[in-house]
Point group: none
Chain length 205, copies 4
């Protein structure tokens, strides 16, 4: 997953960009080869076909996402608010930094052949579970007051996912500011109320 033969990187990158721009079904394997600057045959030397490219991209995208999440969650403590902040930050950073990976991840499940669906769905379910578990624990501990934990979870995820569709890295909004806002919004959505031993410092990150 980390070190691969030379041709791979350029090919996967090109495929990722094409898939993200046009969609898997509308992308021709020749477009990919041309964008990668390799011959059609070279592409087939490294990958068995278009579908395998998609699978490689999706697997890689999932791997990158989850390792980013794990790292952030490890840094966060036991506090549900801190954990929610961590996962939102990971997700937002991932969506803004890797919009191609994100958009493929979010829209090409339908292009997977049956034999690859299971793994994809397991990964997708795990991504969902990360959010759900945190929110449910926050609700149980009484710090997230939302009456609709599942819909709140969906709202938080949808909001984070959408970042991949509009955020422009070089724009007026820095990535750090973006993260700060989305963490704040997420805590608002779950109706976070700190347990307040002494001073509640409410919505600040």
């Amino acid at each position: 997953m980390s070190t691969r033969p030379p041709g791979h990187a350029a090919i996967v990158k090109a495929a990722r960009e094409e898939f993200a721009e046009r969609g898997y079904g509308a992308t021709s394997i020749r477009d990919i080869a041309q964008r990668a600057g390799v011959s059609l045959s070279a592409l087939y030397y490294y990958y068995k076909g278009k579908q395998e490219l998609l699978v490689a991209i999706l697997d890689d995208a999932h791997d990158a996402y989850f390792s980013s999440c794990q790292e952030a969650l490890a840094r966060a403590g036991e506090d549900p608010a801190e954990q929610l902040a961590a996962i939102v930050e990971s997700t937002v950073r991932y969506r803004s930094t890797h919009p191609s990976k994100s958009n493929i991840l979010l829209s090409e499940e339908r292009s997977l052949q049956p034999e690859h669906l299971e793994r994809y769905r397991a990964n997708h379910a795990m991504a969902t579970r990360q959010f759900r578990d945190i929110i449910e624990r926050g609700v149980k501990e009484g710090v997230f007051l939302t009456p609709y934990p599942d819909d709140a979870r969906r709202a938080v995820m949808a909001m984070c996912n959408a970042v991949a569709q509009w955020y422009e890295p070089g724009g007026v909004l820095s990535e750090d500011d973006l993260v700060e806002r989305y963490v704040s919004l997420a805590l608002t959505i779950v109706e976070y109320r700190p347990r307040a031993p002494r001073r509640p410092v409410p919505t600040s990150l």
Copy 2:
């Protein structure tokens, strides 16, 4: 838009479903004809080609969405919270009732040929403006306290849009309940605080 020849309806319906399931690029015009139960020639008799079908579908989807919004906004008064509730309700009902239209609307801009982009983008911008105007007015009037009106707007829209991807009409959650929750979540996101002289029952639809 209202009264059309008989063949049209079945063809557009078939095209809409195919585009929604596979994506425009991955859908073949033969698949559409077959699904509609008409011959390939019949399809070309009614429509000039695949692109025209997409345009017809997008236009129709936009029309249906906006007329639903206008109706709801007309019923709502001047109160930003009421208006936000109205537009969220319209959007959620549209997404849950017409998932195919919604998903095409939300993902096939890239499949439009240049000459049709302008109208699509105008419509898209109008949809955005509907939300933005309401939220901005709520902020100006001091009933929406969110510090990030634009991000809140994106969150509300993303949340509503996502409904088209997961909601199952016959499932445990009725459409009315769904709407109630999403209106509530939207008001939470914009941090709605009623102006409160006499307590106007805040989260009610």
Copy 3:
């Protein structure tokens, strides 16, 4: 099977010749289209693919062969020698008149996909049975003296089949003479001895 759309005939004819000359595996579908004088797409309009062409050719070849056999056997009486003569004549005429059909029939079983094998093998078995039944009855009735009926049957069939590989219609040997010789050879192979009302013809080995 008898009357088909216009394009069919030329396409099947071209495919048959190409398959016979180069073999199924070495024949390109473009060669067939070119030989038939139609476009590649026209070919696919009439036939689903290369395999379907092969199946159509094999089915047609079997049909033509069997109807020729049935006709001849119907004309022949109950006498095994007459029947053997009839089937040898049918087979030899078929091989000499339709060498392409014959050679494909005799060599392209391996090119059939599994789903078409059963029918092919049933037909092949029936062709074998025609010879076997006649020879076995001749042996049982005491007019075919061969001690190896099964090997005699194989020899007769192999001899007839080989005609497709060498006989030249316009050559020195007329088709009628060819038939006469092969009938004679077949009767020799099964060691035919007529039942001899009075004198039993001495030439016994």
Copy 4:
């Protein structure tokens, strides 16, 4: 032809089996390399290409056949019946023991490039001549009574050749029995009648 580098044997064997199973045109050089358990490059290190492999296989097959024939003919005396028996035995044993070689020999002339055709045809002609000369001498000497020597020759050859297509080494019929039957059939076909002054034990092998 006798002692070759190690890689050769496995490669030629694999090529022979593939060619026999699928035909030259339908066999890919990758299939051969894989079956031989060597890399594609290794194959090209030993052989210049697919065509050269076919040529090597055909030459080897011819060599093996002719040396078997020569040996048998050398053991046989001057008697045409004995000689026919010898050549039939050689051919049948070859067809049953080396079905792959046999079937390639009998069906891949068409796959040869022009520059290799001449040698192939010379070999093929020699194989034919072996049978023809013996039969013609038998006819001239009056021991083969067949009125159609050439057709008898074709029948005998076709019968022997077909063995490669149906005989199963481990089956009910031993190779020796097979040979005995085919020699007997061949003598029947040429209508062998021993010259008979002192009874030279006719059909004995």
